[in-house]
C-alpha cells in the first residue's frame, strides 16, 4: 500500500508543474497592477509636493498668471475626459466580444490621447519660445517636471494602446488580451485622475491672483 502511494505520487509531483491552462488567478494581475498604480501615485505625490513648495518661487520671472492659457487647458482637459469615456466604451464592447467596436473605440481613445499630448507639446514649445524654460525659475522647473511626467505617462499609454490594438487584431479578444486591456483601462483612468490634480493645482490655482 505504502509502495503504491509513492509510485502514484511520483508522476503526480512531476506532472503538476506542467498542467496546461493552469495560469495564475485572474485577480492577482489586476491587484498587482493596482499596486503599481498606487506606487505611481506616490511618484506624482512627490512631484505635486515639489510644485507646492516651489510653485510660487518665480525668481523675478513669469508667473502662472502670465503664462497659462486656460482655454488651451480646458480643451486639453476635454480631450483627456473624452478619451476616458471612449476607453470605457471600448471596455463595454470588449465585454460583448465585439472586436471591430473594441478596436474602433480604442482607436478613438488613442486619437484623443494624441490630441492631448499634441496640445501639451504645443504649450511647452510656446512657453519655451517665450523664454519660460525649465531653467528660468524653480516654479518652471517644478512645473515642467510635474506636467512633463504626466505627459510622458500619457505618451507611453498611447504606445501601449497601439501595441494592444495590434495584439487584438492578430489574436482577437482572448483572455490574455482582455486582461491586458483591463490593465491599460486602469492606467488610462488613473492618468485622468492625476490630470484633475494637475489642472486644479497647477493651472487653475496658478492663475489666481
Amino acid at each position: 500500500m505504502s509502495s503504491d502511494t509513492t509510485t502514484a505520487a511520483a508522476p503526480y509531483d512531476r506532472d503538476v508543474f506542467h498542467v496546461e491552462g493552469e495560469e495564475h488567478p485572474q485577480g492577482s494581475t489586476l491587484l498587482g497592477f493596482w499596486l503599481y498604480l498606487m506606487s505611481d501615485c506616490l511618484v506624482f505625490a512627490v512631484l505635486f509636493a515639489t510644485y507646492g513648495v516651489l510653485g510660487r518661487s518665480y525668481a523675478a520671472g513669469p508667473s502662472g498668471a502670465d503664462l497659462f492659457d486656460l482655454n488651451l487647458v480646458a480643451i486639453n482637459t476635454a480631450m483627456l475626459l473624452l478619451s476616458s469615456i471612449t476607453y470605457g466604451f471600448a471596455m463595454l464592447a470588449m465585454d460583448k466580444g465585439r472586436v471591430p467596436a473594441t478596436q474602433g473605440w480604442l482607436a478613438v481613445t488613442g486619437l484623443f490621447g494624441l490630441a492631448f499630448v499634441g496640445i501639451e507639446l504645443y504649450e511647452f514649445v510656446h512657453l519655451i519660445h517665450e523664454g519660460a524654460t525649465p531653467q528660468r525659475s524653480a516654479f518652471l522647473s517644478s512645473f515642467y517636471a510635474l506636467v512633463g511626467t504626466h505627459g510622458t505617462h500619457v505618451t507611453f499609454g498611447i504606445l501601449w494602446l497601439v501595441v494592444l490594438m495590434a495584439q487584438v487584431a492578430k489574436r482577437g479578444l482572448i483572455p490574455e488580451n482582455r486582461r491586458r486591456l483591463l490593465c491599460l483601462s486602469m492606467f488610462w483612468h488613473f492618468l485622468d485622475v492625476v490630470w484633475i490634480g494637475v489642472f486644479t493645482f497647477v493651472y487653475l490655482m496658478g492663475v489666481l491672483p
Binding site: M1, T5, T6, A8, A9, Y12, V16, V19, G21, E22, Q26, G27, L30, L31, W34, L35, M38, C41, L42, A45, V46, A49, T50, G52, V53, L70, V73, A74, T77, L81, S84, I85, G88, F89, M91, L92, D95, G97, L173, I174, P175, R178, R179, L182, C183, M186, H189, F190, D192, V193, I196, G197, F199, T200, F201, L204, M205, V207, L208, P209
Partner: protein, 142 residues
C-alpha cells in the same frame, strides 16, 4: 493514499477551472464578480456627466472670477477636484470595498494616507522654513 487523494482533488479543481475557462472564456473576470475595470454603460455616462459638470464649474469659477475672493475660489476648486477624483474612482475605476477581497481599497487608503502626509508635511515644513529663515524675522529678534 494521501497522494492520490490530493491528485484527485487537484485534477478536479483543474478540470473545473479549465471547463469554466472554455465555456465562459469571455467572462473570465466577471465570473468572480469582483474583477476591476468592469462597468456598465450607465456607470460610464453618469461618471462622464458628473466629471464634465465638476470640471466646467471649476474652470468657470476661475476664468470669470465668480466668487471674487482668491481664497474662497481656491477652496471651492479644491473641493470640486476632490469630488471629481471620487467620481472617477467610483464610475471609471469601479472601485468598491469588495473588489479583490478589499485589498484594492486597503492599498488605496494606505496610498491616500501617505500622499496626505507627503503633501501636507512638505508644505508645512517648507512654509515654516521660509517664514522663520527670512532676514526680516531675524532682525526682529534683535
Amino acid at each position: 493514499m494521501s497522494g492520490s487523494t490530493t491528485r484527485d482533488n487537484h485534477g478536479h479543481g483543474h478540470g473545473g477551472h479549465h471547463g469554466h475557462g472554455a465555456h465562459h472564456g469571455d467572462a473570465h473576470g466577471d465570473a468572480h464578480g469582483d474583477a476591476m475595470g468592469h462597468g456598465t454603460l450607465r456607470d460610464y455616462l453618469i461618471g462622464f456627466l458628473l466629471s464634465v459638470i465638476l470640471t466646467a464649474v471649476a474652470f468657470w469659477l476661475v476664468m470669470y472670477n465668480v466668487l471674487g475672493k482668491t481664497n474662497l475660489t481656491a477652496i471651492a476648486i479644491m473641493a470640486l477636484a476632490a469630488a471629481q477624483i471620487i467620481v472617477h474612482m467610483i464610475y471609471f475605476l469601479h472601485m468598491n470595498t469588495k473588489s479583490e477581497g478589499g485589498w484594492t481599497m486597503l492599498a488605496a487608503i494606505f496610498t491616500i494616507v501617505v500622499v496626505v502626509i507627503t503633501l501636507s508635511g512638505s508644505l508645512w515644513v517648507m512654509y515654516h522654513l521660509n517664514t522663520n529663515m527670512m532676514p526680516g524675522h531675524l532682525l526682529d529678534l534683535r
